[in-house]
């Protein structure tokens, strides 16, 4: 084999690296390596001018490959692979060394150590480069269809956007009805449209589209394949109502049903029957029978002919190219006794309060008592000092002020007292805060080390605070109702997330690859995330991320074909003696037993192999190597690091 000629570029990263790593010393340490034809330092390796210089260098000097030592390959591996391609090199000849996250930053306390480590890391990359060969990418047919998981506002908008782009969509909703959280709200800020009206508008748009399949009562329970061709198994629970139900029959059926259970749609403020609909205009318009609570008394069957208990659970299979996750959030449930929650009867959460004011007219009452003084305690379950939820839930300040103003305008003699920790009505939402101050709402503030308390004295409920806005004065409000401003938390049920192996961030919401470079993509190829499953967001922010994710999912598939890394396992037929150990180890059934030249050996099915390497260590005769991670490469990297 002819000796390789490579170029090495060591990035200053404008000080991020060069403040701690002596990049010139690294350059000098590696320029003498036998295959290194040129070694340069550069202020920003990723800059346009350096990229051009690299292309020029490769072409002029007929380089066989390049190594860039800069930031994490998560950020710029693709950037430099593309540079190689522009210089007519195969992209797999490119090797990356991470001397920022794993050298300059990790060892910013030890410049000599960081420099030594960077030298070793670059030498290891050069060693790997010695073996890096030109590879053909695998071309995979991409199914132009996207599964959108979750039919809240984000999922619905993503589905519409994909459908507009002539992409097939299967919209999968776990609940019996679409609309998610937004369907639970009436009045929204910045618009006269109610949440329910907005959902109706989106639903009417969805159902007229032939390329969208809407599945309610449905859950993804199986997932096979990879980007371009993902086979989903979906379990669809029946509604036990066959065909469209006559409204009058339905009314009678609901009236006659003897079961009463707490209504989750109204956050358990009210009850519903076992056969139910959450609100009259709800979609789909067919009601549902909640079999978990149904006593099978048969009363509804008698008054409504469409009730059909013989319906069976269905298992459906869909093949899609990409999956867009829009599974939303849960509302934080306060701990028992947290600010009197569950121990005092007039303490409720913000979502409950919003349902309460939406469902009442004339007088505002709770548990039969008229409400005048309302105390709102902010940041319950968010910005926790002792708890795990250290993040701000972003939307609750605005949502609370909006609800408080709505209550004031809808009911008489309401006094709002806001026990906050610094209002975060960012951007134009500030206007709402100003309106609230103007309307006479009272704001009292504390720091995290002096949170308000909720106590009772006789029949009175008292909220006390040392108010920092009035020089730490002890203030006390007698509240008829205490509203705990609960924030957003990740879904407690993460079954679909774990099915797709979606990584979570420190806040336990799904994590994007990079907040600014790739904000809606996950490390799992072909799976995008949208809306509040990625972190707290308001409606407009959820929609923006939904449309971004839709564009990303679409662009992966729009060409009908996509390229995947050819980094699969390979078998040395000389060494292989077919013992079957590899076949047993492979989780993807990618290993076949074949007969050649009177010898039985293993063979890799390249289109199925995902390149995990699980087969390699179990092979007794050491006949299996992963392309680009072969024993030769790893051993030579170890030599360079030693």
């Amino acid at each position: 084999m002819k000796k390789k000629k490579i170029g090495v570029y060591i990035c200053h990263c404008g000080g991020n690296i060069s403040d701690y790593v002596d990049v010139e010393k690294v350059r000098q340490a590696v320029e003498g390596e036998d295959i290194v034809f040129l070694a340069k330092t550069t202020m920003f390796a990723c800059s346009d001018s350096n990229q051009r210089e690299m292309v020029e260098d490769i072409k002029v000097n007929n380089l066989d490959g390049v190594v860039v030592a800069s930031c994490s390959p998560k950020l710029h591996l693709l950037t430099f692979r593309n540079v190689s391609v522009r210089a007519d090199l195969n992209k797999y000849t490119y090797v990356h060394a991470n001397i920022r996250e794993q050298a300059s930053w990790a060892h910013s306390d030890n410049k000599t150590g960081a420099t030594e480590k960077a030298i070793h890391l670059v030498k290891a990359a050069i060693a790997k480069s010695r073996y890096a060969e030109a590879l053909e990418t695998n071309k995979v047919k991409a199914i132009k269809s996207v599964a959108v998981v979750g039919a809240g506002v984000a999922g619905m908008k993503a589905a519409i956007s994909l459908s507009d782009k002539e992409c097939d969509v299967v919209l999968i909703e776990k609940e019996s009805f679409v609309g998610g959280r937004v369907a639970q709200w009436d009045s929204l800020s910045t618009t006269t449209e109610t949440g329910k009206e907005m959902i109706s508008r989106l639903y009417n748009d969805l159902i007229k589209r032939e390329n969208i399949t809407i599945l309610t009562n449905s859950e993804v329970i199986g997932n096979k394949g990879s980007v371009g061709n993902i086979s989903l198994t979906i379990k669809k629970t029946p509604r036990y109502i066959n065909g469209s139900c006559h409204p009058e029959d339905l009314k009678r059926a609901i009236a006659i049903c003897p079961v009463e259970v707490p209504d989750e749609f109204n956050f358990r403020l009210t009850t519903r029957k076992a056969i139910y609909k959450n609100y009259p205009s709800e979609y789909p318009q067919t009601p549902v029978i909640d079999l978990k609570n149904c006593t099978r008394c048969g009363a509804c069957e008698k008054v409504c002919p469409t009730v059909d208990f013989s319906e069976k659970e269905e298992i459906l299979d869909f093949s899609v190219g990409s999956v867009l996750m829009a599974t939303g959030f849960d509302s934080y449930t306060p701990a028992y006794g947290e600010f009197g929650y569950a121990t005092l009867e007039n303490v409720i959460t913000l979502p409950q309060f919003k349902r309460l004011i939406d469902t009442q007219y004339g007088k505002l009452t709770y548990k039969g008592k008229e409400i005048k003084n309302i105390a709102y305690i902010y940041c319950v379950g968010s910005r926790q000092v002792d708890g795990e939820n250290t993040y701000c839930s972003r939307n609750c300040c605005t949502s609370t002020i909006h609800a408080a103003l709505t209550a004031k305008s809808k009911f008489q003699d309401i006094n709002n007292f806001h026990f906050n920790r610094g209002l975060r009505t960012y951007g134009k939402q500030e206007i709402l805060y100003a309106d609230s101050l103007r309307s006479g709402d009272i704001y009292l503030q504390s720091y995290e080390d002096g949170l308000p308390t909720v106590t009772t004295e006789g029949k009175k409920t008292l909220v006390k605070i040392n108010d920092i806005l009035t020089n730490g004065r002890k203030m006390e409000v007698e509240a008829d109702l205490v509203v705990l401003v609960t924030g957003m938390v990740p879904r407690a049920d993460n079954s679909v997330g774990s099915l797709f192996k979606l990584p979570k961030g420190r806040d336990k919401f799904y994590n994007e690859i990079h907040m600014k470079l790739r904000p809606v993509e996950t490390v799992i190829d072909g799976i995008t995330i949208a809306g509040a499953c990625q972190g707290p967001k308001n409606i407009a922010e959820s929609v923006n991320s939904a449309l971004s994710a839709a564009t990303k999912s679409y662009s992966i598939l729009s060409k009908g074909e996509l390229e995947t890394d050819p980094l699969v396992a390979s078998i040395d037929p000389e060494k292989c003696t077919w013992c079957g150990a590899c076949e047993a180890a492979c989780p993807f059934d990618a290993i076949l037993k074949v007969e050649t030249d009177q010898k039985v050996i293993a063979e890799i099915n390249n289109t199925v192999c995902k390149g995990c390497g699980m087969c390699a260590p179990v092979c007794e005769p050491d006949a299996i190597n992963l392309i680009a991670c072969s024993s030769d490469e790893i051993m030579s990297m170890i030599d360079a690091l030693a």
């Binding site: 306390d109 030594e116 979570k504 420190r506 989780p587 390699a616 260590p617 024993s631 170890i638 690091l641």
Partner: protein, 135 residues
């Protein structure tokens, strides 16, 4: 280099591209320091590590080898944990045969946000190796 060895052992880390690498990167981002003689080789999945690589590292003078395993987060399936465990067991046997202290091979599950746990693990491993190998 001699100076560096006084308080830092030479450790080879096998880390996985999608799960533990992001944690190690984030440790750098958060400037959670650990000894600079800790080097990472990235592989797709921890269950693909060959015993021969680990033994080679000891021959070349590494004090310790640390497997930052995917654990149950592995994108290639749940069998990863068990398979990685098995190959560590097998390697321990080989190490004993060559009279290498099996405790010089350590494994811990490092998820994509386990930066602090990674640094903690590495620091304690470093202390152990310094105590036993460079007293």
């Amino acid at each position: 280099m001699a100076d560096l060895h006084k308080n830092s052992a030479k450790i080879l880390v096998f880390s996985t591209e999608k799960i533990s690498d992001p944690a190690i990167d984030m440790a750098g981002l958060l400037k959670l320091h650990y000894p600079p003689t800790v080097y990472t080789i990235t592989i797709p999945c921890s269950s693909g590590i060959k015993s021969s690589w680990i033994l080679h590292a000891y021959q070349k003078g590494f004090d310790g080898v640390f497997i930052a395993a995917d654990g149950s987060d592995c994108v290639y399936g749940e069998s990863c944990t068990e398979k990685t465990g098995r190959l560590v067991g097998k390697t321990h046997e080989l190490m004993k045969a060559e009279e290498i202290d099996p405790a010089r091979l350590r494994m811990a599950a490092i998820c994509s946000v386990c930066s602090e746990s990674f640094v903690k693990q590495i620091r304690s491993f470093n202390e152990y190796l310094l105590k036993t190998l460079h007293p």
